[in-house]
Subunit: 361 residues, 2 copies
């Protein structure tokens, strides 16, 4: 697929008729209307994600003058969060919203399209996806599952988490029981810790009772709404495990092909708008909540020592080498990801990083 | 205006009839079509900006199924770049694309909506504009000129520029003749340099002949297309003067009010999409061109010493204090900008900056 096609959409798709499409209500040339269902991995009105999806669906309905209506289901309302991928893949519903790395059971290489420890920032991810070949690879992988993915939101750098002890050396991670999913969890395990998976609703109590020693969640905005700063006396650390987690809209390819080109374009624009505005929302709300958090004298913000970060990076590299070795799809995507990242990281060092350092000098 | 309204658009505007709208071709209920003209401040196909605007206009035409067609004029084709604001304000054409700080002759406070030296990054600007009250202030200011502005693109951190000498102390800026516009230029002047304004087409020759000692332009992508790396033996420095320059779409308020709500929403989505994708394009292309530039052994990339940056920041603060003093509109906008920036900078330090430092440790 040519780069231009990725950005402008499959505009060449013929206008499809209505026959055989269950969600197609009426047919009147290009004025046919569609009623879609969308399942998501987020609790109802989840701050940032759930609210962003609600805004997107309103925008699509208004932009299409009511020709594309989408009913959103929060996690568990129609299917559990972890069944979103399969539900859209089978065409039971037309659309979903979540994060690619939730589907690593389907393919481990989905992780590249959300976040990799020590991977890429928001701007780097967007550069790779839209203009660096990433979206073509994403669509190739998801095409095998009858899915068309769109980048549709980003939380920005997630915090490293809340810890009941200071982390002064890599040995302080030994025996640490931490709620940390995905590849970050595998890295912790290699450092001698015990990663556990917990649903959002159980994190606060587990932390408060000491069932876990540490947890990561998102950032000041979501963490404080969950009350993590009140769970106990805790140290809060910056992130290394999810530098620019991209969220996704997924659309069943048959449902997609039945949309006329104007509605396809409206969906594409709405996803890109969510990609822009959800990032902005997290940026604003995290800043606001952090300012409040820093009034709380019981929370201490720390930095991981350089040698801890170096060791975590070394473990990440080892895990990545093993992944590439066992999974040819991951090897192919990693080749694109890492070649892009190398150049992008150099540019970030000379632009964002140099500026942020200059401003805080 | 409530925050939600800013993001979802003035959806409450009644569907307007066609009478009196010269660009309105036919009328048939909500199927009326519009042919708009758009003037821009960019040369034809200008990399990043011109190409991004062309993509946006195609998206609008496809999303509206041809009901909103926009003919784009490059700078000078219909009016010179510096007349874009007035041309749209008067309603001679419906739409424009450029950068708010070009219009500081109209109001000095326009500068806050593009970039201020040592100001805000892309993510910080978007947070302020969409969720921190910035867009309300932007629309209030532009409303006086019959204009409705939308954030519509960003170059990311611009480079500090090309210098024919190393800058080892603030004294090295004394007597320096540099092409640097806007508030960055005023800061240079305070440091004893001579800022000059030159159209893009004259920069290369001025640098090559020694008529100027230094120039800033955009970043590796645009700078190298202009050939600046070949103008002479030069030092290339990271930026401090334009950390997250937001570009704008401006629409004449009467033309805007005549659009039905679905087309208004399509325009809003297309502007936000450009805001997302132009940033991604600069991110990708700058990384690519920088990698090429670093093969060029005659170019040396340097960092400004900390005390030079501190002095430039001090001059920026002085100039800002003077601006606030003479311009009440600037004082009002500055109050919002600087309060937001204070919180956002702290969050960036703990998220993007901490991560970038961790990755490069």
């Amino acid at each position: 697929m040519k780069r231009r096609d990725v950005l402008t959409g499959a505009g060449a798709l013929a206008l499809a008729g209505c026959a055989g499409e269950p969600a197609c209500d009426t047919a009147a040339g290009d004025q046919q209307t569609f009623s879609w269902k969308m399942v998501t991995t987020w609790p109802p009105n989840f701050p940032g994600m759930g609210t962003g999806v609600a805004r997107m669906v309103e925008q699509i309905e208004r932009a299409s003058n009511g020709r594309l209506k989408i009913h959103v289901y929060a996690a568990g309302e129609l299917v559990p969060a972890m069944e979103v991928f399969d539900t859209v893949s089978r065409g039971t519903v037309q659309m979903g919203h979540g994060a690619a790395y939730y589907w690593k059971g389907k393919s481990e290489s989905t992780q590249f399209f959300t976040a990799i420890p020590f991977g890429m920032t928001v701007m780097e991810m967007n550069g790779w996806l839209y203009f660096g070949g990433g979206l073509e690879l994403y669509r190739e992988l998801y095409g095998e599952f009858n899915l068309m993915p769109f980048p549709a939101g980003n939380t920005g750098v997630q915090m490293g988490g809340w810890f009941n002890r200071e982390i002064n050396s890599i040995d302080d991670l030994k025996g640490l029981i931490m709620r940390i999913p995905g590849m970050g969890g595998a890295v912790l395990e290699r450092a001698g810790g015990t990663p556990v998976t917990l649903p959002g609703g159980e994190i606060f109590t587990s932390l408060q009772t000491g069932a876990i020693d540490a947890t990561e969640w998102v950032g000041p905005y979501n963490d404080m709404i969950m009350g993590l700063q009140e769970a106990a006396r805790y140290y809060y650390y910056p992130g290394w495990q999810e530098p620019g987690p991209t969220l996704e809209c997924i659309i069943n390819t048959e449902a997609w092909a039945l949309l006329p080109p104007d509605l396809q374009t409206i969906v594409e624009l709405a996803c890109a708008t969510l990609n822009d505005q959800m990032t902005a929302e997290f940026s604003a709300r995290n800043a606001e909540y952090l300012a409040e958090l820093e009034q709380d004298l019981s929370v201490e913000i720390r930095q991981f020592p350089a040698d801890v970060l170096k060791t975590l990076r070394k473990y990440t590299d080892e895990l990545m080498a093993e992944l590439i070795d066992r999974d040819p799809a991951a090897a192919k995507i990693h080749a694109s990801f890492s070649a892009y990242k190398k150049k992008a990281a150099r540019w970030s060092a000379l632009s964002e990083q140099a500026f942020l350092n200059a401003r805080s000098t």
